[in-house]
């Protein structure tokens, strides 16, 4: 039944007028230059976020934007409700503790002497992304000193 060598020019082809009618039926409508620009504008606007995301991934570390506080659940910001604000205050001391605890898992003990206590404190208190923090303090031998700095943070609600 199926003929793989079927040629488009065989007798089953439409007659010229029928083909012309089909062509006009399916013809693409004329688009003016202004309409093309409008369509291109729509496409550009729709693509803006994804392109910006790709640019941020390609940017050097120093040019990365400040980290964004992730919502705690249900897509809501943790700061919009009184309970959320109270919860956020309780979490403030937990964050450096968590960072220090994570650091214990990755830090190695180098041959060189440990940096001064002050450098670790500065790294913990600085407003830097987690990955930058890890890079700055990696190789720090005195993990206990880092943990000590963390527990000396404000450990209670206002």
């Amino acid at each position: 039944m199926k003929d793989d060598r079927l040629d488009d020019t065989r007798a089953s082809e439409l007659e010229p007028r029928q083909q012309a009618l089909l062509d006009t039926l399916l013809a693409t409508p004329r688009i003016t230059a202004e309409e093309w620009e409008q369509l291109h504008g729509r496409i550009a606007r729709a693509a803006a976020d994804e392109l910006a995301r790709r640019r941020s991934l390609a940017a050097p570390l120093a040019e990365l934007p400040d980290p964004v506080v992730l919502p705690m659940g249900h897509g809501r910001s943790p700061m919009v409700t009184p309970r959320g604000r109270a919860r956020a205050r309780w979490l403030l001391p937990v964050i450096p503790l968590a960072a220090a605890a994570a650091l214990l898992l990755v830090v190695s003990v180098p041959d060189e002497p440990a940096p001064a206590f002050g450098a670790a404190e500065a790294a913990l208190l600085a407003d830097i992304p987690d990955h930058e923090f890890s890079r700055l303090v990696s190789g720090h031998a005195d993990a206990a000193a880092l943990l000590l700095v963390a527990v000396q943070e404000d450990d209670g609600p206002e």
Binding site: R5, L6, E15, R17, T24, L26, L39, A44, A58
Partner: protein, 190 residues
């Protein structure tokens, strides 16, 4: 399959894709302008509506952007992108609640015939439109794509994921059905 001709000093598709991957909005704009005409033509052929075709074009460029990392720059961009366009157009057509019909367009190229000829043409077009709408979906899609921008059976088959031989067979059957639908008019034409 053709797209807008590249200007001599414009980068080729592979270079544009590499820059789009890095988020270059200018490169994406060049790529979009280069292929929007092709995309719109394909989308319109399948959906039959101008607004739907524009939506499909936008969706197709977004899909291409999100999947740009998977594109093999050693291969031509047009076939890969055309597949995306046709798939999006077919998805839109399937989602439409109303009975899938081929819409008539008022924006026809060329000069308008006389009043009497207009009536005859309108009647023939309506019969052709109805006959097209009664074709099985894949066969109808093949008819709609055939003859667009010099697409070959192999290219159409590539877009639809079927062998070129199947495309030719479906086209043969479709044309037979359309000829039969228009047959009563042939006596009038003679």
């Amino acid at each position: 399959m053709t797209s807008l001709p590249q200007v001599a000093d414009e980068p080729d598709d592979a270079h544009l894709v590499a820059r789009v991957r890095a988020g270059d909005a200018g490169a994406f704009d060049v790529l979009a302008r280069r292929y929007s005409q092709l995309a719109f033509g394909l989308a319109y052929r399948v959906t039959g509506g101008r607004a739907d075709a524009e939506d499909v074009v936008q969706e197709a460029f977004m899909a291409a952007l999100h999947n740009i990392d998977s594109f093999d720059t050693a291969r031509p961009f047009a076939p890969w992108f055309s597949r995306i366009v046709v798939n999006r157009a077919l998805n839109l057509r399937k989602q439409q609640v109303r009975h899938p019909t081929v819409r008539m367009t008022d924006d026809l190229p060329g000069t308008r015939p006389s009043a009497a000829a207009e009536v005859e043409v309108a009647e023939l077009r309506e019969r052709l439109r109805v006959a097209l709408s009664h074709l099985p979906e894949r066969r109808r899609t093949i008819v709609q794509l055939a003859g667009f921008d010099g697409l070959t059976s192999a290219e159409i088959g590539d877009m639809l994921g079927i062998p070129a031989g199947t495309v030719r067979y479906e086209l043969h059957e479709a044309r037979a059905a359309l000829r039969a639908a228009l047959a009563p008019c042939r006596e009038v034409e003679a």
